[in-house]
């Protein structure tokens, strides 16, 4: 990393200034002109708060600018290989919506229990998730594959599933992994190359709208 830094102190200072500016334009800290919320005192039961595309911290704004996404840390070690080994296909229970819509989805613990209410109930992990469900808690899965909001990618699985592209092409051989790993770098180049090979549309509005 250090070899990427410029040599002179002046150039480094410029780099810091540019980074700071880049981060600040995306971040709410310097936005004096974000409309101030009009709210008054809250009644019991009201929670308040604002939803915005602004980043809450300079750090998150800078990371987003550089497209840095930390490796996901899953709340639970779900072993894909064991389930795939049981001949459960990607789209059979957990990611079934990809056959009918644009999104594959991340399953709720309800889905797990549709089988594990009766299957392997003696295992400690299964008891763990059963307890979770009964206490009303669900998995807060972290997305492994996805895009930054600022990329404005509107990816639709449907045409890809229709074209009979294997899930593994873009998601790696998840059946060989325990916890899903980010093995395939889904850069724009990756997508465009395949689109060019298969003569799929490559104009901007295919994905960025």
């Amino acid at each position: 990393m250090t070899t990427l830094l410029p040599r002179s102190a002046f150039a480094r200072a410029c780099l810091v200034a540019v980074l700071g500016l880049a981060g600040c334009t995306g971040c709410r800290l310097l936005e004096a002109n974000v409309p101030a919320p009009l709210e008054g005192p809250l009644l019991p039961g009201q929670t308040g708060g604002v939803f915005t595309t602004g980043h809450p911290t300079l750090a998150s704004a800078v990371s987003a600018f550089f497209g840095v996404r930390p490796e996901p840390e899953q709340p639970f070690e779900f072993p894909h290989n064991i389930h795939v080994g049981q001949d459960i296909g990607c789209t059979e229970y957990c990611h079934e919506t990809v056959l009918e819509g644009p999104v594959a989805g991340l399953p709720s613990v309800r889905t797990c229990l549709s089988c594990h209410r009766t299957v392997a109930t003696n295992r400690p992990r299964i008891r763990q998730i059963t307890n979770m469900f009964e206490s009303g808690r669900d998995f807060a899965w972290q997305r492994v594959y996805g895009y930054a909001a600022e990329a404005h990618v509107r990816f639709n699985h449907a045409p890809h599933v229709l074209a009979e592209i294997e899930c593994a092409t873009c998601h790696g051989d998840v059946g060989a992994q325990r916890v899903a790993q980010r093995n395939v770098d889904l850069t724009m180049g990756f997508c465009v190359n395949c689109h060019n090979e298969r003569q799929a549309p490559v104009d901007c509005m295919t994905c960025h709208f």
Partner: protein
Amino acid sequence: MPRWGMAVDLDRCNGCGACVTACHAENNISTVGPDQASRGRAKHWLRVERYWEGEFPDVRLRFRPVMCQHCDSAPCEPVCPTYASHHTEDGLNAQVYNRCIGTRYCANACPYSVRFFDFFNPSWDRPLQLQLNPDVSLREVGVMEKCTFCVQRIKASTVQAKAEERAIEDGEVQPACAQACPAKAMVFGDLEDPESAVSRLSRSSRGSALLEDRGTRPAVTYLSRQSE
């Protein structure tokens, strides 16, 4: 390859503004609030213009819904340094948010004043964000936005039609404004199909383009309001 266009019948339009709010609801347009609105930063991708003539009691008022005209010869396209504003093969003027660096020259060039800049990150007081349409991007500060002819609906219909191995039917794609209009004044469709409703209406003797003399060649035809 379709060429998308719209016909607006000003004799049916009564100026109610249902289209304006429908557009906000469909396209995740944030409310800017009174302070920013007074600074001219409200983002009405579609607006109803009012033309007043005469003095009391001989007063006349006419309405005209104005949205991005998706001009064939769009002045906003050549001035964009990053190709964020460009023309697609199916006749849309595309706005690619992630390419946009916010020079705002496109808004400067547009004679219809239909382009809006995000001067700040949009915000929604929770839980208003639950209404947001997941098919439409949330724009961040520093990008231009405008009417897209509800491109998300066009894309969804395109994918659906391809899956069913058929062409898109006339009237299958309806932007939010056309769908909401109580008077059925707005018609959207494929101008390449001479039998589509929009093509037939565009050939009407009442039809004309807005600011035709600028040479922008809009994809929107206005059917003039008739008089007695």
